[in-house]
Structures are given as structure tokens and as C-alpha cells.
Amino acid sequence: MDDDELVRCCLNGCGWAFDELVKRYRDRVYGVALHLLGDRDLAEDLAQEAFLRAFQKLELFDSTKGSFSVWVVALTTRLCLNALKRRNLERRLFAGQEDAEAIEPSDNTCSFEEWLAMERREVIHNLLLSLPPMQRAALLLRYGEDMSIHDIAQVLRVPVGTVKVWLFRGRETLRRRLKEVGLL
């Protein structure tokens, strides 16, 4: 069953259809939130909020404008960017607070390959967090979600040219930093 059928099914009152959509996209939605915010609790909260809003506004979803995953990821991105704005404001008020949380392994009994993958993820996560939020969002939406530059411009509410510049700068900065840490 594809996403559009699940959405139709959900609108007709099938509760399990939305559960299936959540199961399909929870990792991506949570991933975007975590990489944008760098805070596990807030990322979970906002990923849930995005799904909740998607559920409440499901009749507004138009499959001709894009897929369900793009829609829900766009919702997540907007929520996270607003949260980042609020957090920046709070940081200015209460200076000297926490920094980005690392992605920690859930248990210590993982294999060497799993540990390596976890380390690699953590390096990328930290490098992404060192970029400005809008640049980070553009990179995640473009390369993580395969969104078009026009769609990203709409989500981030900036001109297309700005998105192109952010993508170039972000990719170049990441390339240099990956070289510095020896991953390239």
C-alpha cells in the first residue's frame, strides 16, 4: 500500500493507516529534528508534534504537490527552526547553557561495525551542528530528503538563489571539516 492510499484510508477513519505512516517515516522525521536541534528530548517532542499536526490537518495534504514524507519533513523543519529561534532568544537571556548533545549508543553490546557506524554518525551530526541552522536545514532537506531546491526555498521561506548559496557553502564547509577530522 503506498502513502497516498494510506492517507485516503486514514481520512476514511482507519486508525492503523496513520500508524503505518508513522512507522515508515519516524526515523527520517526524528533524524531531521535531531540533526537540526541537537537535543534528543526536544527532537522527540517536535517530531511527535509534526506527526500530530499532520494527523490533524491530513485533509489539507495534497499529493499532487509532493509526497507525504516531504510534507511531514517540511512541517518538522518549520517547527524545529521556530524552536531554534526561541532557544536562541532564551540563550541570550540565560547565557552559558548546554550545548549540542552527542548521539550516544543505546547499549554497549554492539558489534565493531555498529560502533563504527555510530561514530561516523556522531561525527557527521556534530559537523552538521556546527553549521548555521538554515544552512543545516537546506543540506538535510536537499541531500537527506531529496527535496527540490524550489521546495526547500518554499519551506525555508527564502529565495531559490539563497538556497543554492547555502547548499554550496554547507557542502564545501562539510568537505573541509571532514578532511580535517580525517574522514576524507
Partner: protein, 141 residues
């Protein structure tokens, strides 16, 4: 890395993104054919994209779906209840205020009007005003 390379980098990126026009695409392809350094950068950019794709999906904490289900079911029930309760409370408050304030204001106005009627001898006052007015008219004429 030559000056030409650093000037061409944004265009190479544009070409990789599929946004370059025909002329730029030709220029980039021509340059990439001979420039080992830029070829290296392109492959490193592709690596960056692969790393982002690899790092993005992250398993949420345990119980994510259960907590989401709770949040989905909670607000619907609560919102209707809250709406009904808040509507009832607001309308009761408004009704009480209107009745109390309205009736007390009306009684105050009524008593003021009665006091004015009782204390002032209106007929005498009107007679005095009329006499003064006639005197003024006589003087004028």
C-alpha cells in the same frame, strides 16, 4: 588549485545540482575533463552527500509511537471538553455580569431621577426662568 578552479567551484556545484544552463554545463564539463583537483573535489562533495544520507535516519527513543498515540487521542477529547467548559463558564460569567451590573445601574439611574423629581420644584423653576426670559426680551425691545 588555480584561480580558475576557485572561480569555477560555485558553477561546478550548480552543475552538480542540475541548475546550470547549457553554456555553464559545457564550461564545467570541459574544465573537469582536465582538472584532477576539481575532479577530486566533486568526488568529495559526493561523499559528503552520502554521509548526510547515511547519518540522517535516526531511530527515535523507545515508546515514541505510544507517546504519539497518546498525544493524538488526548487533544481531541480535551479540546471538545475544554471548549464546552470554557464556553459554559464564559457565558455564565457574562450573563451574571450583565444582570448584576445592568440591574444595579438601572436602579441607580432610577433613584437619581426620582431624587431630582422630588427635590426640585420644577414648576417654580420654570416660572422663574420664563420671567427672566421675558424681562430680557422687554429690555431688548
Amino acid at each position: 588549485m588555480t584561480d580558475k578552479c576557485s572561480k569555477l567551484l560555485p558553477k561546478i556545484h550548480e552543475w552538480l545540482e542540475g541548475c546550470a544552463d547549457e553554456e555553464t554545463a559545457l564550461l564545467v564539463q570541459w574544465h573537469l575533463r582536465d582538472c584532477v583537483h576539481c575532479q577530486q573535489i566533486v568526488s568529495e562533495w559526493q561523499f559528503v552527500v552520502e554521509e548526510i544520507r547515511f547519518a540522517l535516519p535516526t531511530t527515535p527513543p523507545e515508546g515514541f509511537e505510544e507517546r504519539l498515540k497518546q498525544r493524538i487521542s488526548k487533544p481531541q477529547i480535551l479540546s471538545w471538553c475544554e471548549l464546552a467548559v470554557s464556553w459554559a463558564l464564559t457565558s455564565t460569567g457574562v450573563a451574571i455580569t450583565v444582570f448584576w451590573f445592568g440591574s444595579s445601574l438601572a436602579s441607580v439611574l432610577r433613584s437619581l431621577f426620582q431624587w431630582l423629581l422630588e427635590t426640585i420644584n420644577w414648576s417654580a423653576l420654570l416660572t422663574v426662568w420664563l420671567q427672566q426670559f421675558l424681562e430680557l426680551v422687554n429690555r431688548w425691545v
